[in-house]
């Protein structure tokens, strides 16, 4: 802190390294909720509170039960719009050290999770979080979950305006709001920055900033979402003006609350309702409900939705010599032999719409980061980022924005000193993996470790330097539930168990051709792959692609072509693809090669063990 003050020179302060004064504490959390949690744990232990009531309460307050060990919790820290400041990172560091496992985990929906916290200590963690302005409230359960916002919002060259204050205002409006404390099922709201980024089409409500007649508004998509059965959201209307944002969201949530299925747990997300009613009808219902909301909403209520209060008001210093800044490595080719710094620049740094400023990504392995790394990173953010915060990304990485070109080498070496300077964040190497058997009750496979293995291997092979693979993604879930968002990956995987000969083995169903952003597509299931052959399979696909591609076609484009059956070489469609991959799937009998029949992270014989999931509770 003292260090920080030296660099801050009062209110308007452009300062040496271009760092702004810190933002005020966002105050998402409430002290009394931690106390209540501690009380309820005691009552639960004394059997004064039933299992069901306690579970509902626990999930409402952001604590999941851990895999086959209900005395431990996974604590999900909500990070609305993904914005997390250095004080918060430091707090998360010390809480993870004291009460969790010494590492924290960045999730696919911009939450940060602490695993294996003893139930009795959850309230302690919550108390610590409140001090730093964070909360776990409604991070799980049948509520409005963390409101996401593209990590590029505010710096994206293609965006119409910064969606961040809208995302935060929506989050603030709905958190603890009686309107959505007991929905039929969880409810997800995602803001994008532009058509090319973000996850607007896989949310219950997805929003993309738009300007029409010089007025701000959004393209709003409804009824999307991933899961055992996934849907892509529908466009409500061409343009929803800013002043109808709140009423549209309220109307949608009210409809879901009223008509949603509360009986069948497996089919109670809003997307099923939309599917059953039919989009045309649902669309009309929303528009009608919206006019009712508009007519009946008290002005007091509307005032609780305060975008201006969430806006960035701190002046950011202008980057020095902005027009002269050149970072040649961003656009030039790099190779495995290139200096490490250039390789990192190439795959982890992008220019912002603000001249002279850059966003640097921290490549995490499946989202995991140690307490010590968090602390040093917090210091680096204070020193090098003009906005003085980080954003976490659905690729399970961190984005540090507003860094000046002159500072990038120092920032890089700071990251290097704590093992956070891996390249590959914006490439195929940065694989996503849900928690899988590391902590999730429903997991069949160790998707988390597999994602790490993919990343290690791909970085070792230098696949991050291959620009033809750059726009491809690998995402892995440990069961069909899609927490790892496998359906929007170029090559996605979800875990299962298969009998191979007489033996059960961990396998993954491989999907091709999913994508995010406004043109989002869901992947098509191709075939099952033994867990220990996933890496070889992806490498084989890349090898085939290299033989078959036409000129500048990327892997992602080529795979989509194959999915459509429009390949031009010897592999034209999915069937050809499967045939070419079969050699990789061949396994020796279990007694000759027992290792391929076990999952990553365990030498014991594989067995698919699961317990009741709490997703629907």
């Amino acid at each position: 802190m003292a260090d920080y003050n030296v660099k801050t020179t009062g209110n308007t302060g452009p300062i040496q390294k271009g760092v702004s004064r810190p933002k005020p504490n966002p105050k998402w959390g409430r002290e009394e909720e931690s106390e209540m949690f501690a009380q309820n744990v005691k009552h639960f232990r004394q059997k004064k509170l039933s299992d069901d009531d306690f579970r509902r309460f626990r999930l409402q307050h952001g604590a999941y039960g851990s895999r086959l060990q209900m005395n431990y919790s996974m604590i999900r820290i909500k990070v609305p719009s993904g914005e997390v400041n250095p004080e918060q990172l430091e707090k998360i560091a010390s809480l993870s050290e004291a009460f969790s496992i010494g590492s924290a985990h960045v999730s696919t929906r911009q939450n940060i999770q602490l695993h294996w916290v003893q139930l009795e200590d959850v309230s302690e963690v919550m108390t610590g979080l409140v001090e730093a302005g964070l909360t776990t409230r409604e991070a799980c359960g049948n509520t409005v979950r963390n409101v996401m916002c593209s990590h590029f919002a505010g710096v994206c060259p293609d965006e119409k305006f910064d969606a961040t204050p809208y995302a935060k205002a929506i989050a603030r409006f709905f958190i603890r709001n009686p309107m959505c404390q007991n929905l039929p099922r969880k409810f997800k709201i995602n803001f994008a920055c532009c058509d090319n980024h973000g996850l607007a089409r896989i949310a219950d409500i997805g929003l993309i900033p738009e300007i029409k007649d010089e007025k701000r508004g959004f393209k709003i998509y409804l009824g999307g979402g991933l899961g055992a059965a996934s849907f892509i959201g529908h466009l409500l209307e061409d343009f929803t003006p800013e002043n109808k944002l709140l009423s549209t969201c309220m109307a949608t949530i009210r409809l879901f609350d009223r008509h949603g299925n509360r009986e069948n747990m497996a089919r109670n997300r809003m997307r099923y309702l939309v599917h059953e009613i039919g989009w045309d009808k649902f669309q009309k219902m929303v528009l009608k409900e919206r006019s009712i909301v508009e007519m009946t909403t008290a002005s007091y209520t509307s005032k609780l939705f305060d975008v201006r209060a969430e806006e960035e008001t701190r002046p950011f210093p202008k980057a020095v010599n902005a027009k002269m800044v050149k970072l040649p490595m961003l656009n030039e080719r790099v190779t495995l032999e290139s200096p490490a710094y250039e390789r990192w620049l190439h795959s982890n740094v992008v220019p912002q719409k603000q001249d002279g400023y850059f966003t640097a990504f921290i490549t995490l392995a499946a989202g995991d980061i140690t307490a010590n790394q968090l602390r040093i990173l917090a210091g680096a953010i204070r020193e090098f980022s003009a906005e003085g915060t980080a954003r976490n990304t659905p690729q399970q990485n961190l984005a540090i924005r507003y860094i000046q070109a002159v500072d990038l080498p120092d920032f890089y070496s700071r990251l290097g000193s704590i093992g956070l300077a891996n390249p590959g964040a914006l490439t195929i190497a940065s694989a996503v993996g849900c928690s899988g058997t590391t902590s999730c009750n429903l997991a069949i496979t160790n998707s988390h470790r597999l994602a790490k293995e993919v990343e290690y291997k791909f970085l070792e092979l230098g696949l991050d330097t291959d620009d033809s693979l750059r726009d491809s993604t690998i995402k892995i879930s440990g069961c069909p539930n899609s927490c790892g968002q496998h359906e929007i990956a170029t090559i996605g995987f979800f875990g299962g168990a298969s009998r191979i000969g007489p033996t059960m083995a961990p396998t993954y169903t491989m999907l091709f051709g999913g994508s995010a952003a406004e043109q989002s597509e869901l992947g098509k299931a191709i075939m099952r792959v033994p867990a220990k052959r996933v890496i070889d399979t992806i490498r084989k696909i890349i090898e085939i692609y290299k033989q078959e591609r036409s000129d500048s076609e990327t892997l992602n484009q080529w795979i989509n072509k194959i999915v459509r059956g429009e390949g031009t070489g010897s592999v034209r469609n999915i069937e050809n693809m499967k045939a070419s991959l079969t050699p990789v799937m061949q396994l020796l009998p279990v007694d000759q090669d027992p290792e391929v029949y076990s999952d990553y992270g365990s030498d014991a014989r594989f067995s698919a063990k699961t317990a009741k999931g709490e997703c629907a509770a």
Binding site: A38, V41, K42, R45, S66, R67, L68, Q69, S94, E97, A98, F99, S100, I101, G102, S103, H105, H115, W116, Q118, E120, D121, S123, E124, L364, A365, D368, I369, T370, Q373, S435, G436, T437, T438, S439, N446, H448, R449, K452, D599, Y600, G601, S602, A604, K609
Partner: protein, 288 residues
């Protein structure tokens, strides 16, 4: 903190505390703060024991400190040998002894516990580590200190020690609670049946090797452990982490605490029963 002012000697107005070199009558609390230690050093009324490695001690240490690396004590971890060490460091029966390390207090705790075990009634842990002391700009020196040998009596304090058979019997008794001080992932992997986990990482807070007694007491009560229970602490190998827990519990006002000083390493080597948890791959969540 109450400060006893015995022997009726002339009051020293400076700090309202009387310490004379002859009557080592200052009874230390469990945790000694920096100010008290500096005062005691100035009055020459304390033996400061540095338990870091010899080389670290030789480089610099707290003024007047003597060196007793933990490894040296563990080499011959029996009462008669520890008594020799005490005497050689010039520690007499009631002399205040303040111990520090640079390992969040765990090594210091193990040494303090050993002194107490053989009957020294006046030991304390310095509230902070050597690095923190130094970072605060407090006095350090490089001079190697030694003091004339002192006679010390031997009164073994059985009530603060547990061995494997004691632990094995205790785990069947409801009012005896086992606490495992290792980190969460080690605990989940395997532990002594029925043990509860309070990782040592919960005990400290920045700037101090132990949190406030209120906080530690709350952690214990949250776990449903009655404060009048008998608690046995253990950790992975030699009783350092659990030594710190021992003092944390004492600080929190738990009367009856024992240290299983040979800890889980011995337990395993004796082939005693363990509780294991193999149904999750939690190690793969660590970014280390």
């Amino acid at each position: 903190m109450t400060i006893e002012n015995a022997s009726g000697s002339k009051t020293d107005t400076e700090e309202d505390i009387v310490v004379t070199n002859e009557n080592h009558n200052f009874q230390l609390p469990i945790i000694c703060n920096a100010d008290t230690l500096r005062m005691l050093i100035r009055k020459d009324g304390v033996r400061v024991v540095d338990v870091r490695k010899t080389e670290e001690y030789q480089q610099e240490h707290i003024p007047s400190a003597v060196s007793l690396p933990l490894a040296q004590l563990l080499e011959k971890d029996i009462p008669s040998a520890i008594l020799d060490l005490l005497q050689n460091l010039g520690i007499s029966d009631k002399m205040p002894v303040v111990i520090y390390d640079n390992t969040f207090g765990a090594l210091a705790a193990r040494v303090a516990w050993s002194f107490q075990y053989i009957g020294h009634p006046n030991t304390a842990l310095l509230e902070m580590t050597f690095s923190q002391w130094k970072n605060l700009g407090l006095e350090i020196e490089t001079k190697i200190n030694s003091f004339p040998m002192k006679k010390h009596s031997l009164t073994i304090n059985h009530s603060i020690h547990a061995d494997a058979s004691y632990v094995e019997a205790a785990k069947e008794q409801p009012n005896k609670i086992l606490i495992d001080s290792r980190e969460r992932l080690n605990f989940l992997t395997e532990h002594i049946p029925k043990a509860k986990n309070i990782p040592y990482t919960m005990l400290g807070s920045n700037g101090s090797i132990l949190r406030s007694p209120e906080e530690i007491r709350r952690y214990i009560e949250n776990r449903g452990i009655p404060v009048d229970a008998e608690i046995i602490t253990y950790c992975g190998s030699v009783g350092t982490l659990s030594g710190l827990t021992y003092y944390a519990l004492k600080l929190a006002g738990i009367e009856n605490v024992k240290l299983y000083s040979k800890s889980f390493r011995e337990w395993k080597s004796l082939g005693k029963p363990k509780e294991e948890f193999k149904d999750a791959n939690y190690w793969d969540l660590s970014a280390d």
